[in-house]
């Protein structure tokens, strides 16, 4: 059973807790939208869930190799073409097909253009198309619609809908309304008290944070 379960999770940035005692569940076929003002720890939470940093406390349970992380940076190589960039990520994840992803994000006409010659929105579309070629069921997306125009936002929302309809799940930090059937998870109430003495890391941990 595909499920991302978070229990009593505390996440930290630079050794300082930013969100604490988070608990939520995300099952197959669901979309959860993360809300919260800038600096509230949405990115930190997503990076922790993606396994890029260890949680400070609490438990994350998820199936192995289930996460596709979409960060602020798209991980594109400027001198490679659109198709080469996408084919690289497809091979890394052991999938072969990049054509459906190119179709879904309307990139067919750009496939032989070097990534350095793309506009910001086109780059973003390529970065999102990468999610499709990973073949991973749980998408963790950090502000996926930045620099996208209205038509591209619709393309993205359609891609999420298709992914969810196929049994996938998505956790999306965004400020705009994607018109998806989604639960809302506001991180505001979980904001950690930075001066809480019990959770201050030891000097040893801090040195390696």
């Amino acid at each position: 059973m595909l499920e991302l379960a978070v229990d009593d999770l505390t996440v930290s940035r630079g050794g300082v807790p930013v969100l604490e005692r988070l608990s939520f569940r995300l099952g197959g076929g669901e979309v959860l939208v993360l809300r919260g003002p800038n600096g509230s720890g949405k990115t930190t939470l997503l990076r922790t869930l993606a396994g890029l940093q260890p949680p400070m406390a609490g438990r994350i349970s998820l199936p192995p190799e289930a996460i596709a992380y979409g960060a602020h940076a798209d991980g594109l190589k400027a001198t490679l073409t659109v198709a080469e960039n996408l084919a690289f990520w497809a091979r890394i994840h052991g999938t072969r097909e990049i054509e459906p992803a190119l179709d879904d994000f309307n990139l067919q006409s750009l496939r032989n253009r070097a990534a350095q010659n793309l506009s910001a929105g086109q780059k973003r579309r390529l970065g999102l198309a990468r999610l499709l070629v990973t073949g991973r069921p749980i998408w963790l997306l950090d502000e996926p619609t930045v620099s996208l125009d209205q038509a591209s936002v619709t393309l993205f929302a359609d891609a999420v809908r298709a992914h969810v309809a196929a049994g996938g799940a998505a956790l999306i930090a965004t400020h705009i309304d994607l018109r998806l059937e989604a639960g809302i998870f506001d991180v505001g109430p979980f904001k950690a008290d930075p001066d809480a003495p019990a959770r201050t890391p030891s000097p040893f941990d801090e040195a390696f944070a």
């Binding site: 890029l52 798209d74 991980g75 400027a78 001198t79 690289f88 390696f208």
Partner: protein
């Protein structure tokens, strides 16, 4: 992992990828030294192994910060960390790509540049062999240093300071093996030590480097 290797090689050979940077530096050193030292063939032939080894080492150092820095800046490193490839594999493959684009050209070019330094035929052979055995260690140790400094802006200086002391054993045994071989003496001991350094760094440093990367990605 082959995909990652192919991508890194392709990036290096494309415009602005930095392929040839180390080779050009190596050429400059080999051309300049005879001007600085003077044209006496005997003196040049005596210092040639040392100069070529130091030149290869510095040429290698020149491109180290590219191993992880570019991937870190454009976010690829985060994505690679969440990919199904183990981090140790990523590090090893990127070190291999660095060796193929920097170390291997130096190994192949060294005998040619040795001609500029009045090396004889035996010298070509031993320079080629010692560099072939020793340069993989330079790339692997360098990848470890690059992993330690990946998050730092302008980390190049710190990287050089960190890595140079670690390069010294490779340099000592490499140059010693070449010098002894050229002189016609038995050089099995320094050659084996050199091979041992390479084998140990290739076996151990991917784990250390990936641990350093994980800490830097937090």
């Amino acid at each position: 992992m082959i995909a990652l290797l192919a991508r890194d090689l392709r990036l290096a050979f494309r415009a602005g990828g930095g392929f040839g940077l180390g080779l050009a530096f190596f050429l400059i050193v080999s051309v300049l030294v005879p001007f600085g030292v003077g044209p006496e063939a005997e003196v040049l032939a005596r210092i040639a192994p040392g100069i070529l080894w130091v030149g290869a080492l510095l040429a290698c150092l020149l491109s180290l910060d590219r191993i992880f820095q570019l991937d870190f800046e454009d976010g690829s490193l985060d994505l690679l960390a969440t990919a199904p490839i183990p981090m140790e594999g990523t590090v090893a493959v990127k070190a291999l790509a660095h060796w193929i684009t920097t170390g291997l050209p130096l190994v192949l070019a060294a005998p040619v540049f040795g001609a500029l330094m009045s090396l004889d035929e035996r010298g070509y052979w031993w320079i080629f062999v010692t560099l072939l055995i020793g340069t993989p260690a330079l790339s692997m140790i360098g990848a470890f240093g690059a992993a330690l400094t990946v998050g730092l802006k302008r980390g190049g200086l710190l990287l050089s300071l960190l890595v140079l002391p670690l390069y010294i054993p490779t340099l000592i045994f490499g140059a010693e093996a070449a010098t002894r071989g050229i002189g016609g003496f038995d050089n099995a001991t320094p050659l084996l030590m050199l091979a041992g350094i390479t084998a140990a760094s290739v076996a151990l440093l991917p784990f250390a480097a990936s641990a350093a990367l994980r800490i830097n990605l937090r």
